[in-house]
C-alpha cells in the first residue's frame, strides 16, 4: 500500500472494494458485488429521495424545503422549455433524475467524511457509471428520434444550407460528431470529477510530506498548497454543479435534435 510508504496514493480513492462479503454475488455469471461504489449510489439515492420527499407537502404557500425542491424542478423545466420547447415537458422526470443523481453524487463525493474515518466515493469518477448514464441518454435520443421521424431522422446529418458539392463530406462529419456524443458525455463527467479529486489528493500529499520534512518546507510548500487546496475545494463544488448541469443540458440539446430535428 502506498500509504504505508509515508506518501498518499492519489488513485487509491477510486479503488472499488466489495462490501459486506458480497464478493461473489453474481447474476447470469456476472459478478455484481455490492461495492463501495454501489454503497454511495445507495446513499445518493436516499439523499435525493429525502430531499424531494421533503418538498412533497404540496402547500399553497411553500416552506423553505418545498421552495428548494420546487426551484430544482422549475430549473429543469425551464431548461427543457428553453432547449426543446413545449415538447420537452415530458422529459422533465428523466432530466431531473439525471441532474439530481449526478449532482448529489458529485457533492457527496466532496464531503470531508475522512475526518470521521469514512471514505467518500465519487462514483461519477468511474466511466463505467457515467457510461451507463451517457448510453441511456443516447439511447433515448435514438429511440425518440426514430420513433418520431422514422428514417427521416437521418436528415439530422445534413444541416440546413449544406452546399450540394459538399454533400459527400458533411453527412460523414455529422455522423461522427453524432456518434461521439455518448463518449463525450461520459468522458467529460468522468474526467472532470477524477481530475479534481486527484488534484486535491496530490496537494494534500504535498501538505503532509512537506509538513513531515520540517518547519521550513512545511511553511514554504505546505501552507501555499493548503491555501490552494481550499480554493480548489471551492472550485470543485462549482465543477460538481457545472458538470451535472452540462450533462443535463447536453442531453436536453440532443433530445431537441431528436424532437425537432433542425
Amino acid at each position: 500500500m502506498a500509504a504505508e510508504q509515508g506518501s498518499v496514493d492519489p488513485m487509491h480513492q477510486f479503488k472499488i472494494e466489495p462490501l459486506f462479503g458480497t464478493d461473489h454475488l453474481s447474476l447470469f455469471g456476472h459478478n455484481i458485488a455490492f461495492t463501495n461504489s454501489s454503497l454511495w449510489m445507495l446513499i445518493t439515492t436516499v439523499a435525493i429521495t429525502v430531499f424531494v420527499a421533503g418538498g412533497m407537502k404540496r402547500q399553497l404557500v411553500p416552506g423553505r424545503w418545498q421552495m428548494a425542491v420546487e426551484s430544482m424542478t422549475g430549473f429543469i423545466d425551464n431548461l427543457l422549455a428553453a432547449n426543446v420547447g413545449p415538447a420537452g415537458k415530458k422529459y422533465v422526470p428523466y432530466i431531473f433524475s439525471l441532474f439530481m443523481f449526478i449532482l448529489f453524487a458529485n457533492l457527496l463525493g466532496l464531503l470531508p467524511l475522512a475526518l470521521v474515518g469514512v471514505h467518500p466515493f465519487t462514483f461519477t469518477s468511474h466511466f463505467s457509471v457515467t457510461g451507463v448514464l451517457a448510453i441511456l441518454s443516447f439511447a433515448i435520443v435514438l429511440i425518440v428520434g426514430f420513433a418520431r421521424h422514422g428514417l427521416h431522422f437521418f436528415s439530422l446529418f445534413v444541416p440546413h444550407g449544406t452546399p450540394v458539392w459538399l454533400l459527400w463530406l458533411i453527412p460523414f462529419i455529422e455522423l461522427i460528431s453524432f456518434l461521439v456524443r455518448p463518449f463525450s458525455l461520459a468522458l467529460r463527467l468522468f474526467v472532470a470529477m477524477m481530475a479534481g479529486h486527484v488534484l486535491l489528493e496530490v496537494l494534500s500529499s504535498f501538505v503532509i510530506t512537506s509538513a513531515n520534512s520540517g518547519v521550513l518546507w512545511g511553511s514554504v510548500v505546505g501552507i501555499p498548497s493548503f491555501l490552494l487546496m481550499i480554493a480548489i475545494c471551492a472550485l470543485e463544488f462549482l465543477v460538481a454543479g457545472i458538470q451535472a448541469y452540462v450533462f443535463a443540458l447536453l442531453t436536453s440539446l440532443y433530445l431537441n435534435d431528436a424532437e425537432n430535428l433542425h
Partner: protein
C-alpha cells in the same frame, strides 16, 4: 488507475447497481414525485393568475359602480335643484295669493267700517238736530215766553246747522 485496471472485474457490478439506483431515482422520484411537485407549482401559478384576474375584474366593476354612482348623484342633485326651484316658485305664488286675499278682506272691512262711520255720523247729526231744536224751543220759551212750534224750531235749527 482503478477505473481501467479494475474494469474487467467490476464493470458488471457498476452497471448493475447504477441501473438499479438510477432506475429507482427515475421511476420513484422522477416519475412519481416530480410531477406532483410540478403540479403543485402549476396549481399555485394558476391560482395566482386567477386571483389577479378576479382582482382586476373587481377593480373594473368598482370603477363602473363609481362612475354610475357619480352619474346618479349628479342626476339627483339636478332633480333636487329643480324641486327646490319649483317649491320656491310655488311658495312665492301662494304668498302672493294670500297677500291678495288678505288685501281684499282688509279693503272690504275698511269699506264696511267707512259705511258704519258714515251711518253713525248721520245718526249723530240727526240726533244733534233733534236735541238742538228741542233746546232751541226750550230756550225760546224761557227767554221770550213764546211757545214755538216744534216744526218751526227744527226748520230754524236746520237752517243754522246747514247754513
Amino acid at each position: 488507475m482503478p477505473q481501467i485496471s479494475q474494469l474487467s472485474e467490476t464493470y458488471a457490478s457498476q452497471i448493475f447497481w447504477a441501473l438499479i439506483f438510477f432506475g429507482f431515482v427515475f421511476f420513484v422520484i422522477g416519475r412519481g414525485m416530480v410531477p406532483k411537485v410540478m403540479a403543485t407549482v402549476a396549481s399555485r401559478d394558476k391560482q395566482i393568475a386567477d386571483d389577479l384576474a378576479a382582482a382586476e375584474a373587481a377593480r373594473r366593476a368598482a370603477d363602473e359602480a363609481d362612475a354610475k354612482w357619480k352619474g346618479e348623484a349628479a342626476d339627483q342633485r339636478a332633480n333636487a335643484q329643480a324641486v327646490i326651484a319649483a317649491a320656491k316658485a310655488d311658495a312665492a305664488k301662494a304668498a302672493e295669493a294670500r297677500l291678495a286675499a288678505a288685501g281684499a278682506t282688509i279693503d272690504a272691512r275698511l269699506a264696511e267700517a267707512d259705511a258704519r262711520i258714515a251711518t253713525a255720523r248721520q245718526g249723530a247729526l240727526a240726533e244733534i238736530e233733534t236735541v238742538a231744536s228741542e233746546a232751541a224751543g226750550d230756550i225760546v220759551a224761557r227767554l221770550a215766553g213764546i211757545s214755538v212750534d216744534a216744526g218751526a224750531a227744527r226748520a230754524a235749527v236746520k237752517e243754522v246747522l246747514h247754513g
